[in-house]
Subunit: 402 residues, 2 copies
């Protein structure tokens, strides 16, 4: 019998509760027959009316000091006290699983090290892509591959907003209000629309794929707040859509280039068909080529089902923890903007001649009274900066995903 | 040090060789540091010019009787002697991994039982979807879910042919010749175009998802040989494509409905964008909703990378084998055609009145001098048979995927 605790009885935590209570028999199949039993739920709120009120506690030390508890699901969110609690539990020899991307992106390296030193697991499948299996497949199924690139639609809120702009012709502002009304966007939507959420997720994926800690603060991050319906119209004209992409390129020189930004995606890419609030992660391996993992990137039961899969994996691997994670990076592992090249979609008020002087011979998507719209050749960061500096107006500049 | 053998040095086997020889250091990361070393390659052909000629053998008993060899990758294909060799190896306490869908679909239940009785692993990630991780994710990542449906594009050859018909306006016959010229289709293409390959793969997925052996011989299987450019034209008119789908529905009564057939797929489904020779498997779980796994369904290195991931997993789990598999089914687990309902796309020469008399009030996609084209309501198998019997001509009848 494996005794488990849940910390945080919000959306994800209550989903974990529902799944464990309703599926304990099925879960046994994957724990070599060992039953999983919930012993505690930690939450500062009052749940004295709950049918299992006897397992609720407001005192973290009850869980920490109970030697019977071997696996804890952290679904509190935020950095504190989630970090302190997780660290204490790992030090006490308990495995911890989490859906908390902020915590994993910020303290993951340290917590993985603590887990390893104490011969327990720290697992985080639900921290990226909600219910989509991606962390474990990257680690296990792609073990024979060198990962060369990851490009993911990692944030459902922004994907919904862009989808509305493309399919309903809504402006960014209207689509945001729509997303807020549907509960897809927070009242303060900055973390989503400015790309910070996607940034933490691509940092986790890049760390896992490279085996070296990628600091999310080193990733240039641009949101979707400047995308307009005119951009949408021109993207459609070239059979493309615009998606917010968390991107990581693992270069042959061992460095990693990572960025979060809107990108132009051709309709021939499977990423282009990822609609509504769905997420998808395209992973490129040197043996396997392009793989895509698609599904619900958030939501109570999808996310909770990923948390529970980690709980089961921890129970299976109590005696011999898995090494799903990464090490501290030594020196600077991040590539510069000159180590990679992108083509760019650009809108400017400058003349065709000015455009050609700056960017060479480009094909114009449109050239009318108001503006020139075109796709550049592939350019390094410095080449792009130089060319842009030669124009007097830039209305839009969006990377094009290969 | 884990000593490994490869049986069969064809496309997949030589890919396994390449990956193990070139990536042994990286593979160590996931074997708790244990190195993987190739000790034998079994093939009846002569490889005396090969740089590692000393590890080639034509004698299976050398592998069987070497106690150092603990994991064997079977990449021979076909049923015999792959079955006899695999069985002997498992009985001798060696784990076996395979890309051989025919063997897994035909003898998988017995081989899984033998593996379990001998405390070793029998793994088959590469048998479905080539390099796409789907077997392990179904087992591990979706452990908290009851799988309710699987719908997969499981055969690259047929997907290529249909893709050519849709995008190049090629007839079925021309697209088949094109596929043969490109090496995507065999000279005798029956196993692909008649759906037998997809049938074995959906049988494996359905067995794994339900935990009970689904016999591929119980799955109604229809290929794509009757699909015409007229069908393509009408599918486009309703914003849809036609894909060969391996389908399994896990019903609330515990029974399984499974079929392989062409299906009409709306452009709103992510399956519709799976082009060229790619495969994709849509898995629906009661917690996670729809997930899709997309990638290369065949090819040397993609398939070999899945085989090697299984080798690594076997090395990790030598002492405590994983239970990825299913049990013998007791009694009849297959649902009848009346336990499920589909809408159908139909083309007939009968009159509108005759169609309405048989199918009720339907919306016609087209009604011209030659034919009536329409989508039916959702019908059970018996309802469909009855309605069809009331028409005097049926040019096409294709299921519509929800």
């Amino acid at each position: 019998m494996a005794k488990v605790a849940i910390m945080g009885f919000g959306t994800v935590g209550s989903g974990v509760y529902d799944i464990i209570e309703q599926n304990s028999e099925k879960l046994c199949r994957n724990t070599y027959g060992e039953e999983i039993s919930l012993k505690y739920i930690l939450d500062i709120r009052d749940f004295s009316d709950h049918p299992r009120k006897e397992i609720f506690t407001k005192d973290f030390d009850v869980i920490l000091n109970d030697p019977e508890v071997t696996v804890v699901a952290e679904a509190m969110g935020g950095l504190h006290p989630a970090y302190e609690f997780t660290k204490s539990l790992l030090l006490a020899g308990k495995s911890v699983v989490t859906s908390n991307k902020e915590l994993v992106a910020t303290y993951g390296t340290e917590l993985l090290e603590t887990a390893s030193a104490n011969n327990v697991n720290y697992m985080f499948e639900a921290s990226v892509g909600g219910g989509i299996p991606v962390i474990r497949p990257l680690h296990q199924d792609l073990t024979a591959n060198k990962i060369t690139r990851i490009a993911g639609i990692l944030n459902g809120t922004t994907n919904y907003i862009l989808y509305q702009m493309f399919t309903k012709n809504q402006s960014f502002d209207d689509a945001l209000v729509d997303a807020q009304e549907k509960g897809y966007a927070e009242k303060n939507p900055a973390a989503d629309i400015e790309g910070h959420d996607a940034c933490r997720k691509i940092a986790i994926l890049a760390s896992l794929a490279s085996g070296k800690a990628v600091d999310y603060r080193d990733i240039e991050t641009e949101g979707i707040v400047n995308i307009t319906l005119d951009d949408v119209k021109y993207a459609e004209k070239i059979n493309s859509v615009i998606k917010l992409i968390g991107y990581a390129d693992f270069l042959e020189n061992g460095k990693i280039y990572s960025v979060v930004s809107p990108m132009i995606i051709s309709s021939s890419s499977p990423l282009s068909g990822v609609d509504d609030v769905f997420n998808a992660i395209m992973v490129t391996g040197n043996c396997v080529g392009n793989l895509m993992f698609y599904g619900a990137g958030a939501g109570k039961l999808p996310t909770a089902s990923a948390v529970v899969a980690d709980v089961v994996d921890c129970v299976r691997h109590r005696e011999r923890p898995k090494k799903i994670g990464w090490d501290k990076a030594e020196g600077n592992i991040m590539a510069s903007k000159d180590d990679v090249e992108f083509a760019y979609f650009i809108r400017t008020e400058d003349s065709e001649d000015a455009v050609k002087a700056a960017f060479g011979d480009v094909n114009f998507i449109s050239s009318n009274d108001n503006e020139r719209v075109f796709i550049t050749q592939k350019l390094s960061g410095t080449q792009m900066d130089k060319a842009l500096s030669e124009l007097s107006s830039i209305k839009t500049s969006i990377r094009v995903l290969d």
